[in-house]
């Protein structure tokens, strides 16, 4: 009886050590991953002898969480696991990548919740793995859909495309920057070079992109001819024939190099081969 204060002190100490702050997020939903995370200091010190085991236990818990029904809270909690795991093991690539991947919660359209958390986790990962293509690609996607900064996203693709094992999709997306600046020859050269590399995957994608770039280059010339026609006649030409009749377009050039029929609509040139037009960085 003399020592009955011991369990009390031990209980209070445990409470202080294990959780000194309220749980960061709602934890009352049954069946939802709960961020019952140790304080980092405690995990680093007392659990040090078994730190890899502890990290992997939390990692398995996070993976189980990914399998649960998706809610904004679940995704938010998964991000917290990501921050916790990467704090304990900054080299844990999978924790950055997979947990950032599942963190944004789609509200439909281009609207997302938890996007900032995902971006923060990816940026934390990029500080460790600055050249990792998967992380950089995810960063580019998040820049596009969360921050709506397509220029920054395309710049990210440009950086990815400089790497020797860059995926075809990233090279293709990187050309949007050149399209935006009207540097078609450079974009076509970039694609041709990538296509010429041995064991390059995604050749069809690159080939299609090259055709798009060649057609877009021609359509930009047609756009200029349409504008000159408008200035000359005082009216916006409605057909390709009207541009030809104004002497601003060669009559024999009715198809693009890939067989698409050229047309004029709403003051812009179009090709039947190309759906719409390449809009540069606004649509990479």
């Amino acid at each position: 009886m003399r020592f009955r204060w011991i369990p009390g002190v031990a209980a209070v100490l445990t409470l202080v050590l294990v959780r000194a702050e309220p749980y960061p997020f709602e934890t009352r939903h049954w069946g939802e991953i709960r961020p019952l995370l140790l304080r980092e200091g405690l995990a680093r010190s007392l659990a040090k002898p078994v730190r890899p085991l502890l990290i992997d236990l939390y990692w398995l818990r996070a993976l189980n969480g990914m399998g649960e029904a998706e809610t904004a809270e679940r995704n938010q909690n998964l991000a917290q696991y990501g921050f916790f795991l990467t704090e304990l093991d900054p080299r844990f690539f999978h924790a950055y990548y997979y947990l950032a991947l599942v963190t944004p919660y789609s509200l439909g359209g281009d609207r997302y919740l938890n996007g900032e958390l995902a971006l923060a986790l990816v940026r934390k990962g990029l500080a460790q793995f600055p050249t990792d293509i998967r992380l950089r690609t995810l960063h580019a996607f998040l820049l596009t859909y969360i921050e709506h900064d397509t220029r920054a996203a395309v710049m990210e693709f440009v950086e990815i495309s400089k790497q020797p094992n860059a995926p075809a999709a990233a090279i293709s997306a990187a050309t949007a920057l050149f399209v935006d600046e009207g540097r078609f020859d450079e974009a076509i050269e970039m694609i041709s070079q990538a296509m010429g590399e041995e064991s390059r995957g995604g050749l069809q994608l690159l080939s299609d992109r090259k055709k798009q770039l060649e057609i877009e280059k021609l359509l930009r010339t047609l756009d200029a001819a349409i504008e000159r026609t408008r200035q000359k006649t005082g009216r916006m030409p409605q057909t390709l024939e009207a541009v030809v009749e104004a002497g601003e377009w060669p009559a024999e050039l009715t198809h693009d190099p890939h067989g698409g029929e050229l047309a004029v609509k709403d003051g812009r040139g179009y090709s039947s081969w190309l759906v719409g037009r390449m809009e540069g960085i606004t649509r990479w």
Partner: protein
């Protein structure tokens, strides 16, 4: 002298083998190590990592527990049951008795560690041979197991020293504290270097050198990423363990020589 030490060591090994608690712990440890295979079923893409971390983590949990439990119980139990008088009455010095008991304990825990290590390595090899994932057995896995063996040698010596001067409960408590402090030794050192208060700095640095640095023997992190450990680091870790163990055993024998069992 050597024959006496060896006889005591082998007797200790046999005694531990007959101990039911040891048997239960062994079965528990083996189940845990086997369960590593199951843990891999709950993950994706990180099979090697989970396998290595779980395997080494489980061994890293069980080995110190066994070392602590077995080391701290032997001598206090001998004293409690009065069987110590039968030993000290024989022409065996008290130092030989302590060292013999220590070695016997080391055989027991070392044998269990060996069994767990073989199981773990077999799991790695089987996973590599039968599935598409897994990288098999690599040097960092063996280095991590070697680190655990060094930790066991040192922790057993520390626990033995405490057991020579106190009861099993107190010895276990103190040895457990030293185990955790030893794993935080580097943090203690870094903390001491950051403070501007000179006495704290000296105290922190002094404690760092006083307590065994178990962090130095922990290579489990490296096994996770298959990072190589330089031979020089392994050699100094081994020398450190050997030196610290010798000091601990010298202290233990000095205490035991002077101890009154009445």
């Amino acid at each position: 002298m050597m024959n006496g030490v060896l006889t005591i060591a082998l007797n200790g090994f046999r005694e531990s083998r007959r101990n039911r608690v040891t048997s239960v712990l062994v079965v528990f440890a083996l189940i845990l190590v086997f369960s590593v295979t199951v843990s891999v079923e709950f993950t994706f893409s990180t099979f090697d990592r989970v396998m290595a971390d779980f395997g080494l983590g489980v061994i890293g949990l069980v080995t110190p527990a066994l070392a602590l439990f077995l080391s701290t119980g032997l001598i206090p139990r001998e004293i409690e049951r009065r069987t110590i008088f039968m030993v000290v009455a024989r022409p065996v010095s008290r130092s030989a008795f302590v060292i013999g008991r220590y070695l016997g304990n080391l055989f027991t825990v070392g044998f269990l560690l060996l069994v767990m290590a073989i199981l773990f390595l077999a799991q790695l090899a089987i996973m590599y041979a039968t599935t598409n994932f897994g990288t098999g057995i690599h040097a960092p896995h063996l280095v991590a197991l070697y680190g655990l063996a060094l930790e066991m040698v040192l922790l057993t010596a520390v626990a033995f020293t405490f057991a020579t001067l106190s009861s099993q409960f107190v010895a276990t408590l103190m040895a457990t504290c030293v185990y955790f402090i030893g794993h935080m030794a580097e943090d203690l050192f870094n903390l001491a270097q950051r403070t501007k208060v000179v006495p704290f700095k000296l105290l922190g640095t002094g404690l760092y050198y006083l307590f065994p640095n178990f962090d130095r023997l922990d290579f489990k992190d490296r096994a996770t990423y298959l990072d190589a450990t330089p031979m020089g680091e392994l050699a100094t870790a081994t020398a450190y363990t050997a030196a610290y163990t010798v000091i601990m055993l010298l202290i233990a024998t000095a205490i035991f020589e002077r101890r009154d069992f009445k």
